[in-house]
Subunit: 212 residues, 2 copies
């Protein structure tokens, strides 16, 4: 019988055994992960989904009863649609949008720098508001902060100091392409969104409700 | 004067001119993108954010008044928190979760295959419900479909046929690591989430409200 095909039962039995061992290994691994802390999360890369995933995190946090602060360094990145949903939870969400930010429409560097500094002041304040027994936020999202850091519109040292010294339980998400290396070093969780294929290549325009 | 440092005004002027040219080039590029169609979007890769970004897309679509169908091939991927938010929009969202799916808890291949087939039947039905003048959904999310395709629990040919033949205006998002090459070929927009850094490495456990 050794040269016959394995039966479906055989295949299932082997797969289940392999799965059981994998689960054991995973349970052992997870048992070693015991530290609880607020995470510094970075979404970077040229692909889609950096802000969308941050927005998804905001909604997940809200669904878990957490309080969320959002600073938008680029205006219009989170559009009417998603802001409308967030605004259904006024007790849990604060959104601050500063200036025009770095859209393709911007052609005024001096104004951009001023907007970046104003947005950073608000960010720092939000983070400071999370100290003590009654933190104002559980999650702060600094959407597109990487872009202003990339153009050196803010001192990276100061940003690292504030993020690194954030209150213990506070989660912070930083998005935007070209994350600076020292920020990646400091972060707990870094995901790079890579563009494998984009519809522009096939002449397809951005689609409402999906891309904006 | 030629060997002096450029003034802040000079730097601003040059930056603004560069930005103006970039905007012109971008406007020209965008003008060539005229096709409107429902997109087939794939989120793959080993990093975080594949399902979270899909969830963010669902919320954005809802905020734009669109109708969303979700099939979860893996149970528990979207937790109570985010489901709670989606369920606040019962007229716009339908969520179907099939079986236990491919969690680390699963040790029954035969049951997994049955669950995959049941979830696929529901998916195909959702897509078919979008034909005609009164489509039932504008966006269908097939969360973790890639995993069951990867294990060959569904015939890839049939999946490609249904997705490729979807109604014209319907957007479909497929998530999960190890997306099959022919699915990537067929898709309009593919993003790979790459793990650069993960908190497990530092002994940090998964954090409620953020990772689940």
């Amino acid at each position: 019988m050794s040269d016959t095909e394995p039966s479906e039962d055989d295949i299932n039995r082997r797969a289940n055994e392999k799965s059981r061992k994998r689960k054991q290994a995973r349970d052992r691994m997870l048992a070693t992960k015991t530290i609880e802390k607020g995470l510094l999360i970075v979404h970077t890369g040229k692909g889609k989904g950096k802000s969308t995933a941050a927005f998804g995190l905001a909604i997940r946090a809200i669904g878990n009863g957490m309080k969320v602060g959002v600073v938008q360094f680029v205006k219009g990145k989170w559009q009417t649609g998603e802001r409308g949903v967030l605004e259904k939870f006024p007790d849990q969400v604060t959104i601050r949008t500063m200036g025009e930010g770095f859209t393709w429409e911007t052609q005024d560097r001096a104004r951009d720098i001023a907007a970046a500094k104003a947005a950073w002041d608000v960010s720092r304040e939000m983070i400071e508001d999370c100290r003590g027994d009654d933190p104002k936020y559980d999650l702060v999202i600094l959407d597109e902060l990487n872009i202003v850091l990339r153009y050196d519109y803010l001192p990276i040292e100061e940003v690292l100091e504030v993020l690194g010294g954030r209150p213990e339980g506070l989660h912070v998400v930083v998005t935007g392409r070209n994350a600076k290396e020292p920020l990646i070093e400091l972060a707990d969780l870094v995901t790079e969104m890579t563009m494998v294929k984009h519809p522009f290549r096939a002449g397809v325009k951005a689609q409402k409700g999906i891309e904006y």
